[in-house]
Symmetry: C2
Subunit: 101 residues, 2 copies
DNA sequence: AACATATTCACCTCTTGGGGTGAATATCAG
DNA sequence: CTGATATTCACCCCAAGAGGTGAATATGTT
């Protein structure tokens, strides 16, 4: 799941979609409008965000409303913070390498 | 840069390499040893980690010593934390969607 | 029924990631 | 010089991401 989450947020278009949804629920078409790419491409990005669990969908008639689920981000933030703590021990090694270069 | 960082840490092999380097400096061969894949593949993963700025290299004779640079993680952590704060406003919308499903 | 809207499905292309192998390069040890 | 070690380079293959177009499906409107 971490893999899917990190892959999902690694793409700038998908990060922009998430930022848009942070302003509130929106339909697929609404999400797609600002982008210079086709509706279809946006639909595929949304599917990847759903696979990562970052976006949930509520179907109402022919309209699909999208909302954010922040929970998968917790795992990602946890991994990053843990690594940052572990790596601080090795900063002297980093400096050795940087000085050499 | 954020793209490269997130792409780099989205792969489990690369996360394992980073975890290995968190225990201290190591040569390419040392890093590669535990993995069931070829030395060449590990070398390519390391190149991606270098492109993301997460790993720096110090060449000493024929040996290449690798060390971590945690700084790119700061930007990633910052983006995630910011989004988590922004998204908390929309949690009621999420519940609406979840209840519907 | 007829038409428009919202979204996806099915296919195509191009690029990139992840894996492999074998050769090249550079360095170290006899 | 010879041989072993460390790493990369130059290819190959396959899967997946990112983009496109056109058709299909489902729903709403008149």
């Amino acid at each position: 799941m971490l893999d899917d989450t990190l892959t999902a947020i690694a793409d700038p278009t998908r990060r922009a979609i998430l930022a848009r949804l942070a302003t509130g629920e929106a339909r697929v078409t609404d999400v797609a409008r600002p982008f210079p790419i086709s509706l279809n491409s946006v639909s595929k990005h949304i599917r990847m965000l759903e696979r990562a669990g970052l976006v949930v969908r509520r179907v109402e008639g022919r309209e699909h409303f999208l909302a954010l689920d922040p929970r998968p981000l917790d795992e990602a933030a946890q991994w990053i913070d843990q690594q940052r703590r572990l790596w601080s021990r090795t900063l002297n090694e980093l400096e050795k390498v940087l000085n050499d270069a």
